[in-house]
Amino acid sequence: MSAFSRPAAEGDAVLGVRPETVFEPATVEEAVEVVAGSARDGKALAFVGGGTDLGLGAPPKRLDAVVKTGRLARVVEHAPSDQIVIVEAGLTLGELQKALVSHRQRLALDPPLPERKTLGGIIAANAYGPRRARFGSVRDLLIGISFVRADGTVAHGGGKVVKNVAGFDLPKLMVGSLGTLGLIATATFRLHPLTEEEVTLLLRGRTAAGVRALVAAVRKAQLEPTSVVAAWREADRFDVAVRFEGFRAGVAEQRERLAGLVLGQAGGACEALDETSARAFWSRHDELRTRPALRAKLTALPTHVETIAGNVLPGLLGALDNPSFLWYATLGIGFLAGTPADAGVAAAAIQSARQKVSGPGGSLTLEAAPAAIRERLDVWGPPPPSLPLMQSVKNRFDPDARLAPGRFVGGI
């Protein structure tokens, strides 16, 4: 036991696997001490940020200690004129945005639960929100990283300038790696200016074909929304939220043009939400992506929305109580959620949906699920053809399989 460790409690379990010890280092040096110590003693570790995405992946096969990053929460450097920030991994996204706002800047990532999600966790879980439509995901905004390897060595990749091609892109390797390659210690991000104005337009009751047509029309008209989310309402009906951000004049003009585009179409109403309603829509979105007991991510080509609505969704939605589905319409990413009424039925529905989306290159992964569902299927689904390469990477970085063993794709 060191000065920053304590015995684990029930709440420290990772998907039901309870460690013996919890470490809460307050400096990178302390984190190094923990990881190097665990290497010496052959202990298995898991890394936990805000703990919002622990439902991702499978339970660890072995877990001696959890390293929580919550005390590694400093802004190391903010260079407003260079629009970059370096942070420690345990800083929450919410705290970071607060620190940036006086400079009229933001990190253009908007996953749900920013007050709890840490930046290290966001990288490890590849967490993102609807603004990915315009700003990309973590991989597009992360420009530098330092992490503690399984053997306790600190490695850096990237740098603190946006444009940099020196060496292998270690930052990208860490994105979505779920703590299986190392403990993220610090991260450097590219920032964006806060915009002058933002508006959310709601187009109610569109069919899946209507969603597809809307995306095509928006693109044809050269509109540049920062989010396009189709929320399933009933049968073949979606309410589509389109968000514009930018200078006041630009936002007003884009909003008018969108209204003009859909005018006269069936379900052509285009309602500009006032601030309260817009906030309500997006917080409802966040709730659906974080609250329900079963949550799954479905990926496909954006144009496959009709097939998904017609062939894939009915089976899934029918197997859940309070079902919901959010479709990031320009990206081809959907978030299914609900409460499984019967685990067997839900698991079968997921398997069947998986087969339907995997043919054309899509995937269906569980982001959270009750144990009864997890027992019945692999949360990741069939691994991609590059699994042997992934295993090879894992073997180089963590030859003793001590970092969250078994959590990742294909049992990594």
């Binding site: 091609v165 200016p193 930018g246």
Partner: protein, 496 residues
């Protein structure tokens, strides 16, 4: 990592007649080059100061042929150097002695276009600009735009993670590659990513882009393509010196504008561009060329604000092109600047380094002082928006000592970039040219970690050995479990 002998990088390899014949049988006699005179074309890339004769050059026409070539090279224990159009400026495609150069120039088909979903599948030999040309009429384009885009290949762009003037807003190659088919060192073929986002697992595609030919040979690529923006507004501003121009860049970015591009040229670069193109540019200390693009009303505001800020920062004159033809002319001046420097100096080095953009004015002064002291001149033409410097160090190879002095200044500039918290390369890559500076930018542990990535892909170090890493690195067969050193156990030392 343990250092066991690595077959591909130890013995000086030569190509036996038998191996050459087998390779020729795969790609066809016409596409297997062994004649020394013909091989000369391949002994260097765009960095012509380094030359190494390859053992053989093969130009496969399909993934299957690449696989067979890789298998033969492996059996014969020969290193492989992949090559695109050979326009790279860091020696990334420089052969190693006696190697098999695999040129992808014959693989230039566009395989599949899906504009509604915003992607295109191409072979690696397709020229960057040909992607945009193929979809331009439909109103789409491929965003990364390196200056050599009319000739450089998509495969080469992936190897180098190429940028270009417009990556300030749109990002680099790595932000626009959705998938790739790769032939690995054991001859296996693997698909990474694809048109559908978020393939479960590690982002190996992210690792592939910018790996400088060290992990495998890319034989197919899925690229993201974008709808053209509704409007583009360009302005051209002149300044008394790079100080004011640098401050204008900082002010524009700080105001919340994300320009599509901001390029800067200094007095000497302007002089060269004028000499080469006949453009009627004024005789000033610096010019800025800026593009803003997006929805029309948004761009109007952006461009107006930027013009005001440039004026406030001390611009002498601000011009907006009257039409697209005039706009193209302004860009022509910028794009021809590199080659134009040849008009005002018998020889020059192109350097590529990055600094935080807020330091532009200060750094340019330092570079100026440094070159003056050495009795040389430097022309600057670069991507100011992201602090990506391209100093062109002018010298005369016929004057004894000048070439060496220019080389030394090039190195000093890189060291200065590191000192300012920047990078030794923003878009040209490390290749053979800058490997020694990697050890100044990264720690031994960082380099070791990068080598672990490489070894995970290519444990025999078959592909492009002796590039990027400052010292030769081998991969142990299997990385052994961590064994603490006795000193460590006794508490006398601590690993970091």
């Amino acid at each position: 990592m343990s250092a066991s002998p690595s077959p591909a990088s130890t013995a000086a390899p030569t190509i036996s007649r038998d191996v050459a014949a087998r390779l020729a049988a795969v790609v066809g006699e016409r596409h297997a080059i062994v004649d020394p005179a013909e091989l000369r074309t391949y002994e260097c890339d765009g960095l012509m100061s380094y030359r190494v004769m390859p053992g053989i050059v093969v130009l496969p026409g399909s993934t299957e042929e690449v696989v067979r070539v890789v298998r033969i090279a492996r059996e014969a224990n020969l290193p492989i150097v992949p090559r695109g159009s050979g326009t790279g400026l860091s020696g990334g495609a420089l052969p190693v002695p006696g190697c098999v150069v695999v040129g992808l120039s014959r693989m230039k088909k566009i395989l599949e276009v899906d504009l509604e979903n915003g992607w295109i599948r191409v072979q690696p030999g397709v020229a960057n600009l040909d992607v945009s040309k193929a979809i331009g009429a439909a109103g789409y384009y491929y965003a990364p735009d390196p200056s050599s885009q009319s000739v450089c290949s998509i495969g080469g762009n992936i190897a180098e993670n190429s940028g270009g003037a417009h990556c300030l807003k749109y990002g680099f190659t790595s932000n626009h590659v959705l998938g790739a088919r790769v032939v690995l060192g054991d001859g296996s073929v693997v698909d990474l990513g694809g048109p559908v986002l978020d393939t479960p697992g590690y982002d190996l595609l992210g690792v592939l882009v910018g790996s400088e030919g060290m992990v495998g040979i890319v034989t197919e690529v899925v690229l993201r393509v974008l709808r053209k923006p509704q409007a583009t507004r360009t302005f051209f501003a002149t300044f008394p010196s790079t100080d004011e121009a640098g401050n204008a860049v900082s002010a524009i970015i700080a105001s919340g504008i994300v320009p599509a591009a901001i390029e800067m040229m200094d007095r000497l670069a302007i002089e060269a561009a004028k000499a080469a193109t006949g453009l009627d540019w004024p005789d000033v200390g610096a010019v800025l060329l800026m593009d803003a693009d997006g929805p029309e009303a948004e761009v109007e505001v952006t461009a107006d604000n930027a013009v005001e800020l440039a004026r406030a920062a001390g611009a002498i004159e601000i011009k907006r092109p009257r039409d697209e033809a005039e706009r193209q002319l302004m860009w022509k001046g910028r794009k021809s600047a590199f080659a134009a420097v040849g008009r005002i100096s018998p020889n020059y080095f192109v350097q590529d380094g990055v600094i935080p953009r807020s330091e532009i004015a200060r750094v340019l002064r330092e570079i100026d002082a440094m070159t003056r002291k050495a009795g040389l001149r430097v022309a600057n033409v670069f991507h100011a928006g992201d602090g990506n410097l391209h100093p062109l160090i002018l010298y005369d190879a016929k004057v004894p000592g000048q070439e060496q002095a220019a080389e030394e200044i090039g190195g000093e500039i890189l060291r200065m970039c590191i000192r300012y918290g920047g990078s030794i390369t923003g878009e040209h890559g490390v290749g053979a040219d800058k490997a020694i500076y990697m050890a100044e930018m990264f720690s031994e542990a960082d380099l070791e970690t990068m080598a672990m990535v490489r070894c995970a892909f290519d444990p025999e170090v078959r592909f492009n050995p002796s590039k990027v890493f400052p010292t030769p690195r081998l991969c142990g067969d299997r990385p052994g479990p961590y064994r603490p050193h006795p000193v460590e156990l006794s508490g006398e030392a601590w690993r970091e």
